[in-house]
Protein backbone atom coordinates (compact mmCIF):
# COMPACT_ATOMS: atom_id res chain seq x y z
CA UNK A 1 0.00 0.00 0.00
CA UNK A 2 1.68 3.25 -1.08
CA UNK A 3 1.02 6.10 1.26
CA UNK A 4 -0.80 9.16 -0.12
CA UNK A 5 1.61 11.21 1.99
CA UNK A 6 4.22 10.55 -0.70
CA UNK A 7 2.05 12.42 -3.19
CA UNK A 8 2.14 15.65 -1.15
CA UNK A 9 4.68 18.00 -2.73
CA UNK A 10 7.80 18.39 -0.61
CA UNK A 11 7.77 21.62 1.39
CA UNK A 12 10.47 24.22 0.78
CA UNK A 13 13.63 23.78 2.82
CA UNK A 14 13.82 27.53 3.31
CA UNK A 15 11.67 29.56 5.70
CA UNK A 16 8.96 31.82 4.36
CA UNK A 17 11.14 34.86 5.09
CA UNK A 18 13.92 33.64 2.80
CA UNK A 19 14.42 34.88 -0.75
CA UNK A 20 14.93 31.25 -1.77
CA UNK A 21 11.54 30.14 -0.36
CA UNK A 22 9.93 29.57 -3.76
CA UNK A 23 13.15 28.58 -5.57
CA UNK A 24 13.35 25.35 -7.51
CA UNK A 25 15.74 22.85 -6.03
CA UNK A 26 17.75 21.30 -8.82
CA UNK A 27 20.53 18.78 -9.03
CA UNK A 28 23.56 18.79 -11.28
CA UNK A 29 25.85 15.72 -11.36
CA UNK A 30 24.49 14.72 -7.96
CA UNK A 31 25.16 18.12 -6.39
CA UNK A 32 22.00 19.86 -5.19
CA UNK A 33 21.75 23.55 -6.05
CA UNK A 34 19.22 26.32 -6.42
CA UNK A 35 18.17 27.98 -9.63
CA UNK A 36 19.92 31.39 -9.88
CA UNK A 37 17.52 34.06 -8.67
CA UNK A 38 16.75 36.83 -11.14
CA UNK A 39 16.12 40.20 -9.53
CA UNK A 40 12.54 41.42 -9.97
CA UNK A 41 11.95 44.64 -11.87
CA UNK A 42 12.28 47.61 -9.48
CA UNK A 43 9.09 49.09 -11.01
CA UNK A 44 7.02 46.25 -9.55
CA UNK A 45 7.52 47.48 -5.97
CA UNK A 46 5.32 49.95 -4.12
CA UNK A 47 7.30 52.56 -2.21
CA UNK A 48 6.13 53.17 1.36
CA UNK A 49 9.05 55.29 2.57
CA UNK A 50 12.23 56.96 1.37
CA UNK A 51 15.37 56.81 3.48
CA UNK A 52 18.50 58.91 3.16
CA UNK A 53 21.69 57.02 3.91
CA UNK A 54 23.90 58.39 6.68
CA UNK A 55 27.53 57.55 7.39
CA UNK A 56 27.87 54.28 9.30
CA UNK A 57 24.57 52.79 8.13
CA UNK A 58 24.37 49.10 7.39
CA UNK A 59 21.79 47.26 5.32
CA UNK A 60 20.85 44.81 8.08
CA UNK A 61 20.48 47.57 10.69
CA UNK A 62 18.31 49.45 8.22
CA UNK A 63 16.15 46.37 7.63
CA UNK A 64 15.70 45.89 11.36
CA UNK A 65 14.58 49.49 11.78
CA UNK A 66 12.20 49.44 8.81
CA UNK A 67 10.79 45.90 8.89
CA UNK A 68 11.63 44.65 12.37
CA UNK A 69 13.79 41.84 10.97
CA UNK A 70 17.49 42.28 10.17
CA UNK A 71 17.46 39.31 7.80
CA UNK A 72 15.14 41.16 5.42
CA UNK A 73 17.91 43.44 4.07
CA UNK A 74 17.62 41.62 0.73
CA UNK A 75 14.23 43.24 0.17
CA UNK A 76 15.87 46.68 0.30
CA UNK A 77 18.59 45.46 -2.06
CA UNK A 78 15.93 44.14 -4.46
CA UNK A 79 14.00 47.40 -4.56
CA UNK A 80 17.09 49.59 -5.04
CA UNK A 81 18.68 47.35 -7.60
CA UNK A 82 22.19 46.60 -6.45
CA UNK A 83 24.14 43.40 -6.85
CA UNK A 84 26.43 43.94 -3.87
CA UNK A 85 24.44 44.84 -0.72
CA UNK A 86 27.34 47.01 0.52
CA UNK A 87 26.61 49.41 -2.35
CA UNK A 88 23.36 50.31 -0.60
CA UNK A 89 24.97 52.19 2.25
CA UNK A 90 28.36 53.07 0.70
CA UNK A 91 27.44 56.64 -0.25
CA UNK A 92 26.03 58.86 2.50
CA UNK A 93 23.19 60.96 1.09
CA UNK A 94 21.96 58.28 -1.27
CA UNK A 95 18.19 57.86 -1.07
CA UNK A 96 16.83 54.34 -0.72
CA UNK A 97 13.31 53.19 -1.44
CA UNK A 98 11.68 51.18 1.34
CA UNK A 99 8.98 49.16 -0.37
CA UNK A 100 6.32 46.57 0.18
CA UNK A 101 7.35 43.04 -0.85
CA UNK A 102 7.14 42.08 -4.51
CA UNK A 103 3.58 41.37 -5.62
CA UNK A 104 1.92 43.27 -2.76
CA UNK A 105 -0.04 46.17 -4.22
CA UNK A 106 -0.45 49.49 -2.44
CA UNK A 107 -3.69 51.43 -2.41
CA UNK A 108 -5.47 52.95 -5.39
CA UNK A 109 -5.64 56.70 -5.70
Amino acid sequence: MTSPLDAIPAPSKYPRTSRYFASDQLEHNGIPHLRPRLLPSPDSFVTIAVYEVRAGDRADVLAFRQFGDAEQWWRIADANPVLDPRELTDTPGRTLRITLPEGVPGTAG
Binding site: S3, P4, I48, G68, P101, G103, P105, A108, G109
Partner: protein, 376 residues
Protein backbone atom coordinates in the same frame (compact mmCIF):
# COMPACT_ATOMS: atom_id res chain seq x y z
CA UNK B 1 -5.97 51.44 9.50
CA UNK B 2 -2.54 52.93 10.05
CA UNK B 3 0.59 50.79 9.86
CA UNK B 4 1.43 49.26 13.18
CA UNK B 5 5.17 48.88 13.57
CA UNK B 6 6.37 46.26 11.12
CA UNK B 7 2.82 45.21 10.09
CA UNK B 8 1.22 46.49 6.91
CA UNK B 9 -2.30 45.55 5.90
CA UNK B 10 -3.39 45.40 2.25
CA UNK B 11 -7.02 45.17 1.22
CA UNK B 12 -8.11 44.27 -2.31
CA UNK B 13 -11.70 44.12 -3.50
CA UNK B 14 -13.56 43.58 -6.75
CA UNK B 15 -16.30 41.68 -8.53
CA UNK B 16 -14.19 38.81 -9.80
CA UNK B 17 -10.75 40.33 -10.36
CA UNK B 18 -9.58 42.10 -7.22
CA UNK B 19 -7.92 45.52 -7.27
CA UNK B 20 -6.39 47.60 -4.46
CA UNK B 21 -8.95 49.65 -2.55
CA UNK B 22 -8.68 53.45 -2.46
CA UNK B 23 -6.71 54.94 0.43
CA UNK B 24 -9.85 56.33 2.22
CA UNK B 25 -11.29 52.80 2.41
CA UNK B 26 -8.09 51.40 3.87
CA UNK B 27 -8.01 54.28 6.35
CA UNK B 28 -11.61 53.61 7.37
CA UNK B 29 -10.92 49.98 8.28
CA UNK B 30 -11.47 49.71 12.03
CA UNK B 31 -10.89 46.03 12.57
CA UNK B 32 -10.50 42.80 10.68
CA UNK B 33 -11.07 39.30 11.91
CA UNK B 34 -10.24 36.15 9.96
CA UNK B 35 -11.04 32.67 11.23
CA UNK B 36 -9.37 29.65 9.65
CA UNK B 37 -10.20 26.17 10.91
CA UNK B 38 -8.88 22.89 9.52
CA UNK B 39 -11.73 20.92 8.02
CA UNK B 40 -14.15 23.85 7.91
CA UNK B 41 -14.58 26.84 5.68
CA UNK B 42 -12.85 30.06 6.67
CA UNK B 43 -14.68 33.26 7.48
CA UNK B 44 -13.85 36.93 7.82
CA UNK B 45 -15.40 40.09 9.21
CA UNK B 46 -14.31 43.64 8.38
CA UNK B 47 -15.57 46.74 10.17
CA UNK B 48 -15.35 50.15 8.47
CA UNK B 49 -15.91 53.61 9.88
CA UNK B 50 -18.96 55.04 8.11
CA UNK B 51 -18.75 58.81 8.25
CA UNK B 52 -21.62 60.79 6.76
CA UNK B 53 -19.69 62.48 3.97
CA UNK B 54 -17.07 59.79 3.49
CA UNK B 55 -16.38 58.03 0.21
CA UNK B 56 -17.92 54.77 1.49
CA UNK B 57 -21.28 56.31 2.45
CA UNK B 58 -21.45 58.67 -0.53
CA UNK B 59 -20.14 56.60 -3.41
CA UNK B 60 -18.99 53.06 -2.77
CA UNK B 61 -21.87 51.66 -0.70
CA UNK B 62 -24.66 52.75 -3.11
CA UNK B 63 -22.57 51.63 -6.08
CA UNK B 64 -22.42 48.11 -4.68
CA UNK B 65 -18.74 47.92 -3.79
CA UNK B 66 -19.62 46.10 -0.53
CA UNK B 67 -22.48 43.97 -1.86
CA UNK B 68 -22.66 40.24 -1.27
CA UNK B 69 -20.53 38.24 -3.72
CA UNK B 70 -17.90 40.99 -3.95
CA UNK B 71 -14.53 39.35 -3.63
CA UNK B 72 -12.16 40.45 -0.84
CA UNK B 73 -8.47 39.65 -0.46
CA UNK B 74 -6.78 40.57 2.81
CA UNK B 75 -2.99 40.53 3.08
CA UNK B 76 -0.75 41.26 6.04
CA UNK B 77 2.93 42.05 5.58
CA UNK B 78 4.65 41.16 8.84
CA UNK B 79 8.37 41.85 9.22
CA UNK B 80 8.73 42.22 5.46
CA UNK B 81 7.07 38.90 4.59
CA UNK B 82 3.65 38.93 2.92
CA UNK B 83 0.88 36.59 4.10
CA UNK B 84 -2.45 36.28 2.30
CA UNK B 85 -4.87 35.86 5.20
CA UNK B 86 -8.12 35.59 3.28
CA UNK B 87 -9.44 35.30 -0.25
CA UNK B 88 -13.19 35.27 0.01
CA UNK B 89 -16.50 36.77 -0.91
CA UNK B 90 -18.82 39.00 1.10
CA UNK B 91 -21.99 37.20 2.14
CA UNK B 92 -23.57 39.74 4.49
CA UNK B 93 -23.47 43.47 5.04
CA UNK B 94 -24.57 45.33 8.16
CA UNK B 95 -24.79 49.06 8.68
CA UNK B 96 -25.12 50.56 12.14
CA UNK B 97 -26.02 54.25 12.13
CA UNK B 98 -25.45 56.09 15.37
CA UNK B 99 -26.12 59.63 16.53
CA UNK B 100 -22.80 59.80 18.33
CA UNK B 101 -20.00 61.04 16.07
CA UNK B 102 -17.65 58.36 14.78
CA UNK B 103 -19.86 55.49 15.97
CA UNK B 104 -21.51 54.59 12.65
CA UNK B 105 -20.00 51.44 11.23
CA UNK B 106 -20.27 49.24 8.18
CA UNK B 107 -19.62 45.58 8.94
CA UNK B 108 -19.16 43.07 6.16
CA UNK B 109 -19.05 39.35 6.85
CA UNK B 110 -17.91 36.77 4.38
CA UNK B 111 -16.51 33.35 3.76
CA UNK B 112 -13.69 32.02 1.65
CA UNK B 113 -14.14 31.16 -2.03
CA UNK B 114 -15.65 27.74 -1.23
CA UNK B 115 -18.92 29.63 -0.82
CA UNK B 116 -18.97 29.91 -4.62
CA UNK B 117 -18.87 26.11 -4.83
CA UNK B 118 -21.90 25.94 -2.56
CA UNK B 119 -24.31 27.98 -4.68
CA UNK B 120 -25.52 25.60 -7.37
CA UNK B 121 -26.95 22.10 -6.82
CA UNK B 122 -25.34 19.74 -9.29
CA UNK B 123 -27.05 16.55 -8.18
CA UNK B 124 -26.98 13.87 -10.82
CA UNK B 125 -23.74 14.65 -12.64
CA UNK B 126 -22.30 11.22 -13.52
CA UNK B 127 -18.66 10.29 -12.93
CA UNK B 128 -18.22 6.96 -14.76
CA UNK B 129 -15.06 5.01 -13.93
CA UNK B 130 -13.66 7.84 -11.81
CA UNK B 131 -12.29 7.39 -8.31
CA UNK B 132 -12.88 10.04 -5.63
CA UNK B 133 -9.64 11.93 -6.44
CA UNK B 134 -10.46 12.12 -10.16
CA UNK B 135 -13.97 13.36 -9.36
CA UNK B 136 -12.58 16.07 -7.07
CA UNK B 137 -10.06 17.22 -9.67
CA UNK B 138 -12.85 17.47 -12.25
CA UNK B 139 -15.04 19.52 -9.90
CA UNK B 140 -12.29 21.91 -8.75
CA UNK B 141 -11.19 22.55 -12.35
CA UNK B 142 -14.50 24.40 -12.92
CA UNK B 143 -13.34 27.21 -10.63
CA UNK B 144 -10.07 28.07 -12.36
CA UNK B 145 -11.47 31.52 -13.21
CA UNK B 146 -11.15 32.48 -9.53
CA UNK B 147 -7.46 31.57 -9.47
CA UNK B 148 -8.12 28.28 -7.70
CA UNK B 149 -5.38 25.77 -8.45
CA UNK B 150 -6.20 22.15 -7.56
CA UNK B 151 -3.87 20.00 -5.49
CA UNK B 152 -5.60 16.63 -5.25
CA UNK B 153 -3.91 13.72 -3.50
CA UNK B 154 -4.95 10.23 -4.71
CA UNK B 155 -7.05 8.32 -2.18
CA UNK B 156 -5.38 5.78 0.07
CA UNK B 157 -7.52 2.83 -1.02
CA UNK B 158 -8.26 2.99 -4.78
CA UNK B 159 -12.03 2.98 -5.34
CA UNK B 160 -12.42 3.26 -9.11
CA UNK B 161 -15.63 1.37 -9.87
CA UNK B 162 -16.30 -0.60 -13.04
CA UNK B 163 -18.83 1.38 -15.11
CA UNK B 164 -20.67 -1.87 -15.82
CA UNK B 165 -21.15 -2.39 -12.10
CA UNK B 166 -21.73 1.08 -10.63
CA UNK B 167 -21.55 4.70 -11.75
CA UNK B 168 -21.22 7.36 -9.03
CA UNK B 169 -23.38 10.45 -9.27
CA UNK B 170 -22.84 13.76 -7.56
CA UNK B 171 -25.07 14.54 -4.58
CA UNK B 172 -25.74 18.16 -3.60
CA UNK B 173 -23.56 21.16 -4.36
CA UNK B 174 -19.94 20.92 -5.49
CA UNK B 175 -18.67 21.85 -2.02
CA UNK B 176 -20.97 19.38 -0.25
CA UNK B 177 -19.84 16.60 -2.57
CA UNK B 178 -16.12 17.46 -2.19
CA UNK B 179 -16.51 17.47 1.59
CA UNK B 180 -18.48 14.22 1.59
CA UNK B 181 -15.80 12.52 -0.51
CA UNK B 182 -13.08 13.91 1.75
CA UNK B 183 -14.88 12.71 4.88
CA UNK B 184 -15.34 9.23 3.44
CA UNK B 185 -11.59 8.93 2.87
CA UNK B 186 -10.23 10.57 6.02
CA UNK B 187 -9.18 13.59 3.98
CA UNK B 188 -9.92 17.28 4.23
CA UNK B 189 -10.82 19.80 1.59
CA UNK B 190 -9.89 23.43 1.98
CA UNK B 191 -8.70 26.50 0.10
CA UNK B 192 -5.32 27.86 1.05
CA UNK B 193 -4.96 31.47 -0.19
CA UNK B 194 -1.63 32.69 -1.51
CA UNK B 195 1.21 33.06 -2.15
CA UNK B 196 0.13 35.88 -4.50
CA UNK B 197 -3.13 37.81 -4.00
CA UNK B 198 -6.00 36.38 -6.05
CA UNK B 199 -4.56 32.87 -6.17
CA UNK B 200 -5.52 30.01 -3.89
CA UNK B 201 -4.72 26.35 -3.69
CA UNK B 202 -7.60 23.90 -3.44
CA UNK B 203 -6.26 21.05 -1.38
CA UNK B 204 -8.03 17.70 -1.22
CA UNK B 205 -6.00 15.21 0.73
CA UNK B 206 -4.89 14.15 4.18
CA UNK B 207 -4.02 16.80 6.75
CA UNK B 208 -0.39 17.77 6.15
CA UNK B 209 1.31 16.75 9.38
CA UNK B 210 4.71 16.80 7.73
CA UNK B 211 7.42 19.23 6.85
CA UNK B 212 9.41 21.89 8.63
CA UNK B 213 7.56 23.08 11.76
CA UNK B 214 6.87 26.79 12.22
CA UNK B 215 8.87 28.84 14.76
CA UNK B 216 8.06 27.38 18.18
CA UNK B 217 5.55 28.82 20.64
CA UNK B 218 7.33 29.43 23.94
CA UNK B 219 5.32 29.53 27.14
CA UNK B 220 6.48 29.95 30.74
CA UNK B 221 10.08 30.67 29.66
CA UNK B 222 10.59 34.07 31.29
CA UNK B 223 11.76 36.68 28.78
CA UNK B 224 11.86 34.08 26.00
CA UNK B 225 8.10 33.45 26.25
CA UNK B 226 6.09 34.39 23.21
CA UNK B 227 2.73 33.42 24.73
CA UNK B 228 1.50 34.38 28.19
CA UNK B 229 -0.79 31.46 28.79
CA UNK B 230 -1.78 28.19 27.17
CA UNK B 231 -4.41 25.65 28.11
CA UNK B 232 -4.09 21.96 27.26
CA UNK B 233 -6.72 19.29 27.41
CA UNK B 234 -6.67 15.50 27.15
CA UNK B 235 -10.08 14.14 26.24
CA UNK B 236 -10.36 10.42 27.03
CA UNK B 237 -13.60 9.96 25.15
CA UNK B 238 -12.40 11.60 21.93
CA UNK B 239 -10.74 8.62 20.32
CA UNK B 240 -12.86 5.82 18.89
CA UNK B 241 -12.02 2.39 17.58
CA UNK B 242 -14.38 1.81 14.67
CA UNK B 243 -15.28 -1.59 13.32
CA UNK B 244 -16.92 -2.28 10.01
CA UNK B 245 -18.73 -5.31 8.61
CA UNK B 246 -19.52 -5.96 4.96
CA UNK B 247 -21.58 -8.60 3.24
CA UNK B 248 -20.02 -10.76 0.55
CA UNK B 249 -22.52 -10.48 -2.37
CA UNK B 250 -22.13 -14.09 -3.56
CA UNK B 251 -22.21 -16.02 -0.28
CA UNK B 252 -24.33 -13.51 1.70
CA UNK B 253 -22.05 -13.99 4.70
CA UNK B 254 -20.72 -11.00 6.62
CA UNK B 255 -17.06 -10.28 7.24
CA UNK B 256 -15.41 -8.04 9.85
CA UNK B 257 -12.81 -5.92 8.06
CA UNK B 258 -9.49 -5.18 9.77
CA UNK B 259 -9.06 -1.43 10.37
CA UNK B 260 -5.69 -0.28 9.04
CA UNK B 261 -3.25 1.74 11.11
CA UNK B 262 -4.05 5.48 11.26
CA UNK B 263 -0.39 6.44 10.80
CA UNK B 264 -0.56 5.83 7.03
CA UNK B 265 -2.54 9.08 6.83
CA UNK B 266 -1.18 10.80 9.94
CA UNK B 267 2.45 10.47 10.95
CA UNK B 268 2.47 10.26 14.76
CA UNK B 269 3.44 13.38 16.73
CA UNK B 270 3.29 11.95 20.25
CA UNK B 271 5.12 9.11 21.99
CA UNK B 272 2.10 7.91 23.99
CA UNK B 273 -1.04 7.99 21.87
CA UNK B 274 -4.36 8.19 23.66
CA UNK B 275 -6.09 4.81 24.07
CA UNK B 276 -9.32 4.27 22.18
CA UNK B 277 -11.86 3.82 24.97
CA UNK B 278 -14.90 3.82 22.71
CA UNK B 279 -15.65 0.97 20.33
CA UNK B 280 -18.05 1.98 17.60
CA UNK B 281 -19.65 0.25 14.64
CA UNK B 282 -20.03 2.16 11.37
CA UNK B 283 -23.56 1.96 10.05
CA UNK B 284 -24.77 1.08 6.56
CA UNK B 285 -21.62 -0.60 5.29
CA UNK B 286 -23.11 -4.02 4.47
CA UNK B 287 -24.03 -3.14 0.90
CA UNK B 288 -20.80 -1.26 0.14
CA UNK B 289 -17.81 -2.80 -1.57
CA UNK B 290 -14.78 -3.61 0.55
CA UNK B 291 -12.51 -0.67 -0.51
CA UNK B 292 -15.23 1.92 0.21
CA UNK B 293 -16.08 0.39 3.59
CA UNK B 294 -12.39 0.15 4.50
CA UNK B 295 -11.82 3.79 3.52
CA UNK B 296 -14.77 4.77 5.72
CA UNK B 297 -13.39 2.93 8.72
CA UNK B 298 -9.96 4.55 8.44
CA UNK B 299 -11.65 7.91 7.92
CA UNK B 300 -13.55 7.47 11.18
CA UNK B 301 -10.38 6.42 13.02
CA UNK B 302 -8.49 9.43 11.65
CA UNK B 303 -11.29 11.85 12.42
CA UNK B 304 -11.41 10.92 16.09
CA UNK B 305 -7.67 10.42 16.67
CA UNK B 306 -6.89 13.87 18.10
CA UNK B 307 -7.37 13.48 21.85
CA UNK B 308 -4.97 16.19 23.05
CA UNK B 309 -5.68 19.82 22.31
CA UNK B 310 -4.07 23.09 23.29
CA UNK B 311 -5.22 26.65 22.94
CA UNK B 312 -3.98 30.13 23.62
CA UNK B 313 -3.52 33.62 22.29
CA UNK B 314 -0.38 35.14 20.85
CA UNK B 315 0.68 38.63 19.94
CA UNK B 316 2.23 38.60 16.47
CA UNK B 317 4.60 41.49 17.23
CA UNK B 318 5.90 39.67 20.31
CA UNK B 319 6.00 36.23 18.67
CA UNK B 320 7.61 37.76 15.57
CA UNK B 321 5.82 35.44 13.12
CA UNK B 322 2.33 34.85 11.85
CA UNK B 323 1.12 31.45 13.00
CA UNK B 324 -0.21 29.60 9.98
CA UNK B 325 -3.09 27.17 10.33
CA UNK B 326 -2.97 23.56 9.07
CA UNK B 327 0.77 23.28 9.60
CA UNK B 328 2.97 21.90 12.34
CA UNK B 329 4.24 24.05 15.19
CA UNK B 330 6.47 23.28 18.16
CA UNK B 331 5.56 24.08 21.77
CA UNK B 332 8.25 24.64 24.39
CA UNK B 333 8.05 25.25 28.12
CA UNK B 334 4.81 23.36 28.78
CA UNK B 335 6.49 20.45 30.55
CA UNK B 336 7.47 16.95 29.40
CA UNK B 337 3.87 15.84 28.90
CA UNK B 338 2.66 18.60 26.63
CA UNK B 339 5.84 19.84 24.90
CA UNK B 340 6.55 18.87 21.32
CA UNK B 341 5.04 19.22 17.88
CA UNK B 342 1.37 19.98 17.31
CA UNK B 343 -0.88 20.41 14.30
CA UNK B 344 -2.42 23.91 14.16
CA UNK B 345 -6.13 23.14 14.03
CA UNK B 346 -7.52 26.66 13.91
CA UNK B 347 -6.31 30.25 13.96
CA UNK B 348 -8.31 33.44 14.38
CA UNK B 349 -6.50 36.58 13.24
CA UNK B 350 -7.60 39.75 15.05
CA UNK B 351 -6.29 42.95 13.46
CA UNK B 352 -6.94 46.34 14.99
CA UNK B 353 -4.97 49.57 14.72
CA UNK B 354 -1.91 48.98 16.90
CA UNK B 355 -2.46 45.29 17.54
CA UNK B 356 -2.39 41.97 15.75
CA UNK B 357 -3.29 38.98 17.91
CA UNK B 358 -4.04 35.39 17.02
CA UNK B 359 -6.16 32.88 18.92
CA UNK B 360 -5.09 29.38 18.09
CA UNK B 361 -6.05 25.77 18.75
CA UNK B 362 -3.51 22.97 18.47
CA UNK B 363 -4.13 19.23 18.34
CA UNK B 364 -2.29 15.92 18.37
CA UNK B 365 -3.06 12.32 19.16
CA UNK B 366 -1.33 11.79 22.50
CA UNK B 367 1.12 12.92 25.18
CA UNK B 368 4.91 13.32 25.34
CA UNK B 369 6.95 14.57 22.39
CA UNK B 370 8.35 12.12 19.87
CA UNK B 371 11.34 14.38 19.29
CA UNK B 372 14.12 14.94 21.80
CA UNK B 373 13.95 18.70 21.26
CA UNK B 374 11.87 21.30 19.48
CA UNK B 375 13.45 23.65 16.96
CA UNK B 376 13.03 27.15 18.45
Amino acid sequence: MADIGPIHLTLLMGRQIVAPTPQPVTDALLSAQVTVTAGQRSGFQLAFDLTKNGIIQQALLPAGAFDPQVRVVLMATVAGTPHVLMDGVITRQEVGISGAPGQSTLTVTGEDLTVLMDLVENTGVPFPAMGPAARCAAIIAKYAQYGIVPLVIPELIPQTPMPTERIDFQKGTDLAYLNALAKANGYTFYLDPGPAPGVSKAYWGPEVRLGVPQPAINVNMDHLSTVDQMTFGFDGSAREQPSVRIQIPVTKTDVLLPVPEVSVLRPPLALRPAPALKKTVIDDTAKKDAPTALAESIAKAVETSDAVSGSGQLDVVRHGHVLRPRELVGVRGAGITYDGLYFVKSVTHNLKPGSYTQNFTLAREGLISLLPNVIP
